[in-house]
Structure formats: structure tokens, C-alpha cells
């Protein structure tokens, strides 16, 4: 037996050497197939691993629970559709919490609810006049005078813009009126009112002049209402990088560092940052890169965003420093500023440094700063706009995902403020509402269908005359100032974060390997407790993003399958051709006593020899390449991929299973496709070999 195997191996090696082209074609195909399987599966496994860390470690947790009545599927990173998802409600989180914590594999459960907010922003002149109002109220005479002068300088720029506009405008009369308003606001007589009637002066600026600067797009912020302390403890990638977490019992918001840098930063600074990333970090050029070219073209057009902020002596100081830097005698700050902002590949680096060193300290770099209070405005479930003032406690990021827009898309608010924005009234609010209502008798009408009959029916008495004397003259100021709730006094009992409404909740497991069985068991627990809830794993919870790996895996497997089928057809064909070529040889072997089984084994051993050698080499190459990439890393070419890669670089690791499985599977497959030609060869008779000779 062993002797026969030796002979067969020798024959196989001889034949491989003899039929070089065939051997190369078959070997090459098996080599590529094996390489593709090992590299593809290892790469995909690494992506799945990093992506799961990104999703689980940022907001999803291992499992998510939400109402079974939800009309939409939970999609933490967006469903890809516009509009608001209907995820139902978990009205009493405490019940759900109690049941789920009964499971031995559950470490923690964190309530979370997502919504979008709008933050209205005034234009440049609104902001300027707001600062002016503050200065008028509390500033010194010198400060007021300096700011007045700055406003006039800015108004001259506005006037120039209007003059340019009138040349192309279809409504010159409107613009003429606007120019007349600006002229009035530039006049000495107008500014003489600053000491006698500052209010009317400011009102004129705010109502007549501010609208001339156009409207600023409102800012849209996605926010998550949660238990701030619990979230911070359970999500390890979460890190506060400025300020502090929202303290227990306080209303507040944490802003994502990513959003802070990409949306709340001064637009000129953002332009400089983008150009820095392209030119300095990525070594690209303004001349050849279209997006960099756009940033560079936009920069000088945005000079007003800086100019308006330079008031008082900062204006003259900046002009002097810019003149020195730009080596110019030009006395118009706006012109020097525009020239300064006209950047190219050569001058960019020194202008970037000058901007941050000299100009930035004189301006407000971000729309909001930590410690300030903002008005978060959001639509309630029923579509009404609700506003809640919230203090910005700090900035946060998810470690390793700093440059990802996906991970940085969330801002955090305490769950109690979320509920208020959602339109859920607290007990205290409900009591107050009843009190207000009790003073006003309003006829209750059950439904709109009978509203008209009820209002205008037989008993309707529409018109009445107000009798009696006129009420007392209106006071300029009420006897006592209105009692109102300041944002900072809106404290709540921290226990409220663990009870009441939430939309969904993240479940953190002690042993994530048991995710599938735990999910099923939790579902059973909730069912027994008669809680109508749905439990999904992180992949499902992350929406289309979570399906990405499944899709990539399916595409890869389909591609491999197609390649292998084609490859096997080629192998089958090549061996058939060889069989025909070797008819004489096989006939001779049969004539000298070789059995059919020997012929079959001869072909099988030949295929296995090529198969194992080529696919092992393919697997080895894939392992070598992956090992190199594991050290060097693959840079994420986009912000989206940095989320998928779990950071700026992916370090793929070898899947040992794939490295062993691929060569064996590929060789076996090749063997299967050798069956038919080998069988055909074994049927060749010695007589056929003789005929062929004749």
C-alpha cells in the first residue's frame, strides 16, 4: 500500500512537472481561492470585532429593549430615512429594570431615549447687537463708545454690500429703504441718543438693521436622554474631556466634542482646520484636491465672521499685526483680512499659525462654551415645540472614535429634561395646569364632530356687551415681578432617573459570549412579567449599520462561491484535456496491469498534491500579509470607516480557523471536480491506447 502511494506520488510529481501550463493554471486558481478565503474572512472578522466594539461601547450596549408596540425598528445610528421613528414607550422603566436585573448574566441596564433638537441662532449682526446691549447695560462709557464705533464700522461694510446688491437686485426700492436705514444708523444724530434714549437706538438696530445680515441656518442637535452617571460608568469608551458630567439631580447637557468642533466652531476656524487636515496631515494640495480648493475659496468670503467680532481696541491691534504680517500699508481692516484669508499651499502653514496665535484670542471661537446655558427646542410627541434651558456641563468623546461623525452624533441630556421636551408632564406640572384651568371655565366638547353643533346650536349666545367701568389703568410694571423658574433651580429627585418614562434601554452583559441565549431568556422573563417588550442585539439595534457586516460577509461569500465555481469548471476542463492527451500513457499502464482503481488514485493524488501545495501557499501569503498589516495598520480613508475600524486605523488579525480550513476546503473541492475526468480516464482500455498509436 505504502509502496503504491510512493509510486503514485512520484507519478504525480512527474506529471505536474511534465504538464507545467496545466499545473500552473490549476495551482494558480487554487492559490488565489485560498488567499481570498483566508484574507477575506480574517479581514471581515476583524471589522466585525472593531465595529461591535464601536457600537457596543458607544451607545448600544449588548442588548437593547424597547416597546413591542413600536411601529419602527430601533435604529440607534439612524434608520436612513427622514422623519421621526415611532418606537413606542416604556412608561414605567422601574418595572422593566427590576425584571431584567433578575437575569444572572445582566450587569446593568441604562435608560436612553433619542430625539432631535433645534437651536435657533441669530445672524452676525444679531450677535453683535446682543453684545452691544450687554455693554450698554453694564459697560463703562469708554467701552460703550468703542463698541459704538465698531458697530458703525461694520455698518459701513453692510452699506457697501447693499450698494453692490442694488446693482443686480430686482427690488431696488426695498434696498434703497434699507440703505436709508443704514445711513440713519451711521449718522451722528442717531448715536447722540446713546446717552438719552439707548433703548430706542438699540431697538432700531435690532429690528431694522439686524435682518439685513440674512438668516443663519438653525443648528440641529441629536440628543439622548439618559441617566448621566450610570451611562458614564457602563460605557467604557465614554470620556468627559472638558467640564464635568451632569451632576445627579441637575438639568444639563453634554455636547459631543465632534459636534463642537465641526458645527459650533467659528466657520473661519473650521475652514482653517479642514485645510490643515488636508494640507499638513494628509499632504494634499489646494491645487489638485477639489474639497480643499472649495475650503480655500470660501475662506476669504467669510471674513465678516471675524470682522464683526473684532471690537474696540482689538480692531486696531489686529489691523496693526496683520499689516506687519502681510507687509502692507493697507488701512482697511476688511481688505487686509480678506487678503490674509486668501491662502495657497505655500502660505497656508504660517497663516494658520498666525490665525490661532493672534486672531483667535480676540474672538469667540465657539457658539457656546462650557458653563453657559442654551435653549434646547424640540417637538413633543404631538408635534408642538417645547423649549427647555439647559446648562452645558461639558464636552465628551468616545475614546478611539474621536474623528467619527457617527459616534460623535449624540449629545447627552438628563432623562428628566428629555421627558419635558417629549411632552411628558411631571406631577408638579400637572397640578399647576389644573390650577390654571380651574380659573377659566371652558366648555368641554368631546369631539370635533359635534363641535359646530355644540358651539353654534340652538342655545348659542355669541355676542355680549362688556358692561361696567373700564378696568384700572395699566401699570408700567406689576406690583411684584413674575415668579419664574430659572434653569438652575430646576432640580429634580435623582431617583426619577430610574423610574418613569423611557423609550428604550441598553442592557450590559457580564458574559457577552452568551448574548444569544441571554436575549431569548430575557424575552421570556419579560413575557412572564406581562411586559410587552422587544429585545434585540446590538447588530439589530444599530439599524442599517449593524447589518453592514452581514451584507459584506454575504457579498464576500457569494464572490468566493462564484470564483470557486468558475475555477472548478476550469480545473475540470484542464484535467479533461490532460486525460485526452494522456490516453496512450493510461492505455499502456492499463496494458501492463494497472487496475482502474490505480488510475483513479493516480489522478486524485495528482490533484491533491497541486491543491494542497497551492492553497497552502495562498493561505501562507494571506497570513503573512495580515501579520504585516496587524503591525502597520490600515488607515481609515474616511470618518465613516474610522467608526467601522474602531479608530483611525484597522489592525486586522489572522483567523486561525480560516488559515487551516481554506487549504483543506479548496483542495477537497478540487478533488470533487477531478472525479469525472479521473473516472473517464479509468475507463480507457489498452486497446484504445493501441488504436491511438496506430
Amino acid at each position: 500500500m505504502l509502496e503504491e502511494l510512493k509510486v503514485l506520488l512520484l507519478v504525480a510529481v512527474r506529471n505536474i512537472a511534465l504538464h507545467k501550463v496545466k499545473s500552473l493554471v490549476v495551482g494558480g486558481i487554487l492559490f488565489s481561492g485560498s488567499f481570498l478565503v483566508v484574507f477575506g474572512l480574517s479581514f471581515l472578522g476583524s471589522i466585525e470585532n472593531t465595529m461591535s466594539q464601536s457600537i457596543i461601547g458607544s451607545v448600544a450596549g449588548h442588548l437593547q429593549v424597547y416597546s413591542a408596540d413600536a411601529k419602527d425598528d430601533l435604529a440607534l445610528f439612524g434608520s436612513g430615512f427622514f422623519g421621526r421613528d415611532d418606537l413606542g414607550e416604556i412608561p414605567k422603566f422601574e418595572q422593566v429594570r427590576e425584571e431584567i436585573l433578575k437575569h444572572p448574566n445582566v450587569a446593568s441596564i441604562v435608560p436612553m431615549s433619542f430625539e432631535n433638537a433645534i437651536i435657533g441662532r441669530g445672524n452676525l449682526l444679531d450677535e453683535l447687537f446682543e453684545r452691544f446691549r450687554k455693554t450698554v447695560r453694564s459697560g463703562s462709557k469708554a467701552e460703550i463708545a468703542a463698541m459704538s464705533e465698531s458697530i458703525r464700522q461694520n455698518l459701513r461694510t453692510v452699506r457697501t454690500d447693499l450698494e453692490n446688491e442694488i446693482k443686480i437686485a430686482g427690488n431696488p426700492d426695498d434696498i434703497k429703504k434699507q440703505i436709508a436705514d443704514v445711513d440713519l444708523a451711521l449718522s451722528d444724530s442717531f448715536w447722540s441718543k446713546i446717552s438719552t434714549d439707548p433703548e430706542s437706538l438699540m431697538i432700531f438696530l435690532e429690528s431694522k438693521i439686524a435682518p439685513l445680515s440674512g438668516e443663519k441656518e438653525p443648528l440641529y442637535l441629536r440628543y439622548m436622554g439618559t441617566h448621566p452617571e450610570l451611562f458614564s460608568n457602563e460605557f467604557k469608551k465614554f470620556k468627559i474631556i472638558e467640564g464635568e458630567n451632569i451632576p445627579a439631580g441637575e438639568r444639563g447637557i453634554l455636547i459631543s466634542k465632534r459636534i463642537y468642533e465641526t458645527q459650533l466652531k467659528n466657520i473661519v476656524a473650521r475652514g482653517f482646520d479642514n485645510l490643515y487636515k488636508g494640507i499638513v496631515v494628509q499632504d494634499k494640495s489646494i491645487v489638485t484636491d477639489i474639497s480643499l480648493k472649495t475650503f480655500a475659496t470660501d475662506l476669504p468670503k467669510q471674513y465678516l465672521e471675524i470682522l464683526v467680532q473684532l471690537t474696540g481696541e482689538n480692531r486696531s491691534l489686529t489691523l496693526a499685526e496683520l499689516q506687519k504680517f502681510m507687509k502692507t500699508q493697507e488701512t482697511s481692516l476688511e481688505k487686509v483680512l480678506q487678503d490674509f484669508l486668501t491662502v495657497d499651499d505655500k502660505n497656508f502653514r504660517e497663516r494658520f499659525d498666525f490665525f490661532y496665535k493672534v486672531i483667535v484670542p480676540k474672538i469667540r471661537l465657539y457658539s457656546f462654551n462650557t458653563g453657559e446655558t442654551i435653549n434646547l427646542r424640540s417637538y413633543t410627541r404631538s408635534g408642538f415645540l417645547k423649549t427647555v434651558p439647559l446648562k452645558i456641563y461639558g464636552l465628551y468623546l468616545f475614546e478611539g472614535l474621536e474623528s467619527s461623525d457617527l459616534a460623535g452624533a449624540f449629545n447627552f441630556v438628563d432623562l428628566v429634561s428629555y421627558r419635558e421636551l417629549y411632552g411628558r408632564m411631571s406631577d408638579e406640572g400637572q397640578k399647576e395646569l389644573e390650577e390654571i384651568r380651574s380659573k377659566i371655565p371652558i366648555k368641554s366638547v368631546e369631539n370635533a364632530a359635534n363641535l359646530e353643533d355644540s358651539l353654534f346650536g340652538a342655545e348659542a349666545q355669541i355676542e355680549t356687551r362688556a358692561e361696567g367701568p373700564q378696568t384700572a389703568a395699566v401699570q408700567a410694571k406689576p406690583a411684584a415681578a413674575l415668579e419664574f423658574r430659572r434653569s438652575q433651580s430646576g432640580r429634580y429627585d435623582p431617583a426619577e432617573l430610574k423610574t418613569g418614562l423611557t423609550i428604550n434601554a441598553a442592557i450590559i452583559l457580564k458574559n457577552p459570549r452568551r448574548i444569544a441565549s441571554t436575549r431569548a431568556e430575557i424575552e421570556e422573563l419579560l413575557k412572564q412579567a406581562k411586559l410587552n417588550l422587544r429585545v434585540v442585539d446590538w447588530k439589530q439595534a444599530s439599524g442599517t449599520l449593524g447589518q453592514l457586516v452581514t451584507v459584506i460577509r454575504a457579498v464576500l461569500l457569494i464572490a468566493v462561491a462564484i470564483i470557486l465555481i468558475v475555477a472548478m469548471a476550469i480545473i475540470n476542463n484542464a484535467i479533461m484535456m490532460t486525460t485526452i492527451e494522456r490516453t496512450r500513457e493510461i492505455g499502456t499502464l492499463r496494458a501492463i496491469g494497472a487496475q482502474r482503481a490505480f488510475i483513479l488514485r493516480m489522478f486524485f493524488i495528482e490533484t491533491m498534491t497541486i491543491g494542497l501545495l497551492a492553497s497552502a501557499a495562498g493561505s501562507l501569503l494571506a497570513v503573512t500579509l495580515l501579520s504585516i498589516l496587524n503591525v502597520k495598520g490600515i488607515a481609515a480613508p474616511s470618518d465613516f470607516l474610522s467608526f467601522i475600524f474602531g479608530g483611525p486605523k484597522l489592525y486586522p488579525s489572522v483567523s486561525a480557523g480560516a488559515a487551516v480550513f481554506a487549504p483543506v476546503a479548496v483542495s477537497l473541492l478540487a478533488l470533487i471536480f477531478t472525479l469525472y475526468p479521473a473516472f473517464m480516464a479509468s475507463r480507457i482500455s489498452p486497446a484504445a491506447a493501441m488504436q491511438d498509436r496506430e
Partner: protein, 259 residues
């Protein structure tokens, strides 16, 4: 708009006495719409306490108390919330085409568009403002109809191209005999019904400055036709037509109310 409507009603009543029972001709229609404005308008100042109740899916979810101030001669308008505590001190101030919102918790003002709802409700600035139907719309007579026990004129109003209004298309049902507006529908340009507003109670009050009655809607019921089941009820009381202090329509005054 509530005030506007109330005035409208007064004019309607007056007009009804002189208007024949058949369809309105163009001249009559024009004079009726103009009268709707005039009877609601007060040449002097105006102040009233307003109560706003918001219903969502037929359940009362919000209630506010506020004071409305108007000086029609200068096109000035102001609304100051007094209840509940979370809203108290917030105010709207309209100057020219700007609507400023004051947030006392922030001590900040925000310039907003006219179309924003007041205090997160379905009511709009125009609901509390002077009636300008004849300035802003062109009218067309539709039919004489019946609304409950009332015989009404059904009128269609289309916004003039230059008018800056919240609703481009209005339908009004005006009581023939009293000339009170009883019902109003607000539609989009594509004729989608957005809000239906009912005026079940009008009050006439003698104004010294005008030397005549001013018509004021004491109650306004707004039905949200987009979000079914949602609605707002506005009730006005303590209407005062005496002169207001000169400096009242300023940011400083509104801010001082919550300091």
C-alpha cells in the same frame, strides 16, 4: 387674530342689517371684509389677559396665562407669559417684521419668524394681533350657508402676493345678521386644510379713543387639522382699551417683568 376676529364679528353684525339675503356683490364683499377689520380695530392701545389651553389627542397637556399688549397705531404687539412658572417671564415682542422671543432663564432674546407657534401651542402671533384682512387678502364670495342655527356668508380670501401672512388661503364663515366671524379655515397654497378656528363668543366694548365699539373674541377654538385630536383654546378676559405707558413696547420693559 382673536382680537381681529372679534372686531370682524362686530362689523359683520352691523353689515348684516344692511346686506340683502342674496349673494354678496364685489363692492359689498369688499366693504364687509374691510368692516371685519375696522370693527376689531382699536385706534388706541389694547391690553388683555389671555388664557391658552393646549389639547393633544383630546387630552389637556399645557395651559398658559399671558397678557397681550397692542398699539395698533405703531404696529406694536407684545405677549408676556405669567403662568405656569416654567414659562413665566417669557415674552414675544413684535417690532416691524421681527418677532423677538425673550427667555428669562437665559436673559436672552431671539429673533424669530412670524409663523412660529406661540409658547409651543397651535396659536400664532396673528391670533392675537390686529385684523388686516382687507390689506392682506383679496376676497371672493362662495355661498350663503348655514352654520348651526346661524345663516352665514362663506367667503374665500387669497393672500396678496406681497403680503407676509401665515396662511395663504382663508375661508371665513360670517354671521349674516351680526357680522361676527364664526368660523375660519386656514389652508395651504395646495388647498390642504391646516387649521379650523371657531369664534363662539364675541364681546363688544366701547373704546374712548375710537369713539365706537371694538369687537373682541372672548373665546377662540383652534382645531389642528393635520394632527387630528390636537387643538388649542384661547380665552380672553380683562380687556382694557385705555392707553398704555409710552415706553412699554421695549425689550427693556419686557425684561424688567421677570427680574
Amino acid at each position: 387674530m382673536s382680537v381681529r376676529l372679534s372686531v370682524n364679528l362686530v362689523f359683520l353684525t352691523g353689515a348684516l342689517l344692511s346686506v340683502p339675503a342674496f349673494a354678496l356683490n364685489d363692492a359689498d364683499l369688499k366693504s364687509l371684509v374691510s368692516e371685519l377689520d375696522t370693527r376689531q380695530r382699536n385706534s388706541g392701545d389694547y391690553k388683555s389677559v389671555v388664557f391658552i389651553e393646549q389639547r393633544e389627542k383630546s387630552k389637556v397637556t399645557q395651559a398658559f396665562e399671558a397678557t397681550v399688549f397692542r398699539r395698533d397705531a405703531d404696529d406694536k404687539w407684545m405677549l408676556l407669559f405669567s403662568k405656569p412658572k416654567s414659562e413665566a417671564g417669557k415674552g414675544y415682542l413684535r417690532l416691524d417684521k421681527n418677532l423677538f422671543l425673550y427667555e428669562p432663564a437665559l436673559g436672552k432674546w431671539e429673533r424669530r419668524t412670524d409663523r412660529s407657534g406661540i409658547g409651543g401651542t397651535n396659536s400664532r402671533r396673528s391670533d392675537f394681533d390686529e385684523s388686516r384682512l382687507s390689506e392682506e387678502y383679496t376676497a371672493k364670495f362662495i355661498a350663503d350657508e348655514k352654520l348651526g342655527k346661524f345663516d352665514v356668508h362663506h367667503i374665500l380670501l387669497n393672500a396678496k402676493t406681497e403680503a407676509d401672512v401665515a396662511s395663504p388661503v382663508l375661508h371665513l364663515w360670517v354671521d349674516k345678521s351680526s357680522k361676527n366671524i364664526l368660523k375660519r379655515q386656514e389652508r395651504s397654497l395646495s388647498d390642504k386644510l391646516l387649521r379650523t378656528v371657531y369664534y363662539p363668543a364675541w364681546e363688544k366694548k366701547f373704546s374712548k379713543s375710537k369713539g365706537a365699539d371694538v369687537y373682541i373674541p372672548r373665546e377662540i377654538r383652534i382645531v389642528d387639522e393635520v394632527e387630528k385630536g390636537n387643538g388649542t383654546t384661547v380665552v380672553l378676559r380683562d380687556v382694557n382699551l385705555d392707553g398704555l405707558p409710552a415706553n412699554i413696547f421695549t425689550k427693556a420693559w419686557l425684561e424688567s417683568q421677570s427680574r
